[in-house]
């Protein structure tokens, strides 16, 4: 990665010197630096043949954007959806909702009116422009998602005696210690061969300013370091106005806490601020898309066979209520069914395509919403949105970004587990998951967490009946072997969804995949 980066940088420098700024920008754009998404605006589907038809399988975002654009372009479109709801993984659970997972456990959600759990997507990067474009076009009201909150907690069983500390304190101490150590390395001439004298001096100045080091280049408990990590007694007015500096953590504990993981997480391109969420729950996006294509959707339709021949595509489906079996026919098909499900549906796509569908496993994830009678994280701990991180299975608790400062209840995200932690939580009954989330989350808010708890809901993605998992999990090998086959138009059928993108597990990926798929399918239709 680093090696590649250096090469690319050298290349760009060379291009800049030879061709000037315009050439440099052109090159950067081509290489994906300056532009942050591949979105180029709505697809051009001009010239659709009158009467040409497309069957869309799945009313998630990929399926619905395909239906919307193809319908607009003049195609005769119909969508088959397994659930009685459109939106797919774009979904919010509200009070009054009922959710039955595989295995049969049913949860009656009892959140107060206006509160919700987003089981799937819950935050939108500012550069996911395809999604933001359609949100605006379809009237979805967006509000800021509070992603980065220095005042949240960091907890690790291996650090600070198992007590949570503020992110601000741990992150400041990490940076301060690194700055001091790097300064020592320069002092001891360890970087003499790496940097010119001039650059060493500039770096020293940077380390002092960035790391809050004193004049001797030391990171110590004083008013300077307290500017980053917070005070023992903050500045005030009058008699006791003078601030008292806070004490530093041992660097050993700071390292053990792995706070650098949280810090690196916030540097991740997808996680950088500003982030957004729809007002009223992420599911508002699915609802808005559905509002555009509602009349095209057949709900409760379980696809049981997909066949294509020279004349068109025939999809057999069963009504999940009555069991009645029907056939739907069209000239072409956009299949936006998650791969794990599609893998079990008999079809006559090319064998390489079927191998690609079978080759991609799905990730797991567990989200748990907990309604608290009062917003103690705000009133007692001065935390307004953001995430408190932990090394326990729940991974984090995340505080709601809406209804701030209200006296009433709040629903916080009590778990966003993945990997081993998610398997453990998923294997529990919904009641046991709530219990585990309360036990683990109490580490951040002892005394009040259980006391204020009112009601909860959980979604374990490995048991979601219509996906069999959270998201497609590609690796280097499967990408190389199967990705191009998976996304290629197979005669009359094209696949769409986050699984057919390099923006995996994001709504943006589902949309970009779908727009690309229908553009190629349209080309295929014109050639027919």
């Amino acid at each position: 990665m680093e090696k590649f980066g250096t090469t690319r940088r050298q290349l760009l420098t060379a291009i800049g010197m030879v061709g000037g700024t315009a050439a440099l920008y052109q090159a950067m754009t081509t290489m994906g630096h300056a532009m942050e998404t591949q979105y180029k605006g709505p697809p051009n589907l001009a010239g659709a043949r009158p009467g040409a038809s497309v069957l869309v399988l799945g009313a998630g975002l990929a399926g619905m954007v395909a239906a919307y654009e193809l319908n607009k372009a003049g195609y005769k479109v119909r969508i088959l959806e397994y659930q009685n709801r459109a939106g797919g993984r774009n979904w919010s659970l509200y009070g009054g909702d009922s959710y039955t997972e595989m295995g049969g456990a049913t949860q009656k959600v009892q959140f107060a009116s206006g509160h919700y759990l987003n089981p799937g997507p819950w935050r939108i990067p500012y550069h996911h422009r395809t999604l933001l474009h359609y949100c605006k076009a379809f009237g979805v009201q967006l509000e800021p998602f509070i992603q980065f909150n220095h005042n949240c907690f960091v907890h690790s069983a291996d650090a600070f005696g198992g007590k949570p500390v503020r992110y601000r304190e741990a992150a400041a101490d990490f940076e301060g210690n690194v700055a001091e150590l790097l300064g020592k390395a320069i002092d001891q001439k360890a970087l003499d061969s790496e940097l010119t004298k001039d650059d060493r001096e500039k770096l020293m100045e940077a380390l002092r300013g960035w790391g809050m080091l004193d004049k001797d280049m030391r990171y110590k408990a004083n008013l300077l370091t307290s500017e980053h990590r917070g005070y023992e007694r903050p500045p005030g007015g009058g008699v006791n106005g003078e601030p008292i500096p806070s004490q530093l953590f041992s660097f050993h504990d700071v390292l053990n806490s792995q706070v650098w993981k949280n810090m690196a997480f916030f540097m991740n391109h997808e996680m950088q601020t500003t982030m957004f969420q729809p007002v009223g729950g992420m599911g508002m996006i699915g609802k808005a898309f559905a509002g555009q294509v509602q009349q095209l959707i057949t709900f409760n339709a379980k696809v049981t066979r997909i066949n294509q021949d020279k004349t068109g595509v025939t999809v057999t489906y069963a009504d999940t209520g009555s069991g009645a079996v029907n056939e739907a026919k069209a000239d072409f098909c956009v299949c936006a069914i998650p791969l794990g499900v599609l893998n079990q549906i008999p079809n006559n796509m090319a064998s390489a395509k079927r191998a690609a569908v079978a080759a991609v496993p799905y990730s797991n994830s567990v989200k748990i919403g907990l309604q608290m009678a009062r917003r103690f994280w705000e009133t007692d701990d001065y935390i307004y949105g953001g995430h408190s991180f932990t090394s326990q299975d729940i991974a984090l608790i995340s505080y709601p970004n809406y209804h701030l400062f209200e006296d009433g209840p709040g629903v916080l995200l009590g778990a966003f587990a993945s990997g081993a932690g998610a398997y453990r939580l998923a294997g529990m009954t919904p009641q046991q998951r709530i219990e585990a989330a309360l036990a683990q989350g109490s580490v951040f808010h002892p005394g009040v967490y259980r006391k204020e708890f009112q009601t909860g809901a959980s979604v374990a993605w490995s048991r979601v009946p219509w996906t069999l998992g959270c998201c497609a999990r590609w690796n280097e090998e499967t990408r190389k072997q199967h990705y191009q086959t998976l996304v290629a138009v197979d005669d009359r059928i094209v696949l769409a969804g986050e699984h057919a993108s390099y923006v995996g597990c994001w709504m943006e990926g589902a949309l970009l995949s779908s727009l690309d798929a229908i553009t190629r399918l349209h080309k295929r239709a014109l050639e027919a």
Partner: protein
Amino acid sequence: MMRPIRAMTIILALTATPALAQAPSGGGDIAGSATVKAAAPVTGEQVYTQVCQACHMADAKGGSGAAVIPALASNPKLATAGYPISLILRGRGAMPPLADMLTPAQIANVTGYIRTHFGNNYATPVTAEDVLRLSPPKSAR
């Protein structure tokens, strides 16, 4: 006073580790937390409860929806130990390969467990060596 070589080692450690441990790009939304610390399951029952049960259910009867999670209960395919071992190692369809998450001993234990519970009665013991024999090379994972 720290000697230069030691200081350099620390710097390299500080800068190198995050790059190695970072989630691959395009990995989707993640919590961004420290590595989860929990006691690793040892016995077959522990592995089943903490991993397999997430999909195959506490009664090992699986489930059904738009597609099916196969039942392990009363499943004649478990007669050949190599079959479940291979599936656990390599995954199938939505089921992820678990070769990197579970040790050969854990896989052997859980294979033995499912083959002798939930209405299955295939008593031949399964060993870590059996699992190693069927394991894909690291590069193929």
